[in-house]
């Protein structure tokens, strides 16, 4: 099978994730959409690694996963803190740059 199929799939997933970030107001859903975009990029990395017979792409995908894990931990902590003070998880409510 032509590996370009995987690349096109990753483009589609990336675009859907970007649309989630742009359209949804719920901070959690927007955050999950960012995760989807990272995953789509990972799929492209793995596909290119196999296409060119070079393992570096898989290593980069691995590091993306680790950084995504760290990002999720901090991001969710921020969302929980904002929810505690504002009783809302909407991105529009946190507009004053203060708690």
């Amino acid at each position: 099978m032509n590996p370009t199929n995987y690349l096109v799939l990753s483009v589609i997933l990336f675009a859907i994730g970007a649309s989630g970030v742009l359209i949804r107001r719920n901070a959690l859903v927007a955050f999950m959409s960012v995760e989807l975009m990272l995953n789509a990029a990972n799929l492209a990395f793995v596909t290119f690694a196999r296409m060119h017979g070079n393992l570096d792409g898989q290593i980069v995908a691995f590091f993306v996963m680790v950084v995504a894990a760290a990002e999720v931990v901090v991001g969710l902590a921020i969302i929980v803190t904002i929810f505690r003070t504002r009783r809302s998880a909407s991105v529009d409510d946190a507009s004053l740059l203060k708690l």
Partner: protein, 274 residues
């Protein structure tokens, strides 16, 4: 052949999961859709000679990250759904157009680019298998990146703890102090604690009020929040409704025996019924 079948089955599932994330009203449904997408991506990794990444994807993403998301959704409230009001007018239309542009541009680039028709494969790059080859790279070429990422993870864990930590402003009362307070301030019938909710022979749940000795449901036995939400159940169906035979037997028992014996009599009849 097998890979093509896997791709054409799992790719629609992945895309549907991603669409479900964007279009579901409730965050919980979105999280579950995203989990489906991530599992199908893990299968793609395994199909593309990256078994290590496939397993890490399932363990880290679907196992840890999505569960973390679900926990936070539960903290924030499962029912928290989006408002449909557009804050910036025309934002959705503009976003849709931009996304279509991104899809067209990127897929045109990937389709028209001169890429090898058949993948080179990783047999040459990883002669001893996938995991030893990745270990060679991580602990060799990318050693410093690996160390920095370890420092990043520790920083993130400390940061999350600092962000969510709350100082206790008031002194937390101990069990002893609470007990003293109950006896000195509360009504005397509550001094020994409130009645426990819903313990019946056929049912045991916190949303069903306990029955007092005279057969009336006790308001004090269930949480006030449940009552306010309208989630409390009636304990009526678990109550013993005496049949005419029971009433007769009780009447006989009352005439024959002194009042102190009624409890024992009840027990005996209960045994017969059972």
């Amino acid at each position: 052949m097998g890979e093509a079948a896997l791709f054409w089955i799992m790719a629609p599932i992945a895309v549907l999961g991603a669409l479900g994330l964007v279009f579901s009203r409730k965050a919980v449904h979105g999280a579950l859709c995203l989990a489906a997408t991530m599992v199908s991506l893990a299968l793609f990794y395994i199909a593309q000679e990256a078994p290590f990444l496939g397993v890490v994807q399932i363990v880290v993403y679907t196992g840890a990250i999505m569960m973390l998301f679900l926990f936070v959704i539960m903290l924030v409230g499962v029912d928290s759904s989006d408002s449909r009001v557009e804050t910036i007018r025309g934002q959705r239309v503009a976003a849709t157009l931009a996304i279509l542009g991104v899809v067209l541009l990127l897929s045109a680039v990937t389709i028209r680019a001169t890429l090898p028709e058949e993948p080179a494969g990783l047999a040459q790059a990883s002669p001893d298998g996938n995991v030893p080859a990745i270990a060679d790279l991580i602990f060799g070429t990318y050693f410093w990146a690996f160390e920095v990422v370890a420092a990043l993870l520790i920083t993130a864990a400390v940061g999350a703890m600092t962000l969510t930590h709350r100082e206790r402003i008031f002194h937390r009362p101990t069990q002893k102090e609470l007990s003293i307070k109950r006896f000195s301030e509360g009504p005397p019938e509550e001094a020994a604690g409130l009645p426990v909710p819903g313990v019946y022979a056929r049912h045991n749940a916190v949303d069903t009020p306990a029955l007092l000795p005279d057969g009336t449901p006790s308001e004090a036995s269930i949480n006030r929040v449940l009552v306010a939400r309208g989630a409390a159940r009636s304990s009526d169906e678990f109550r013993h409704h005496p049949t005419p035979a029971d009433v007769e037997a009780a009447a006989e028992g009352e005439t024959d025996e002194p009042a102190g014996q009624i409890g024992a009599d009840d027990d005996a009849r209960g045994g017969e019924r059972a």
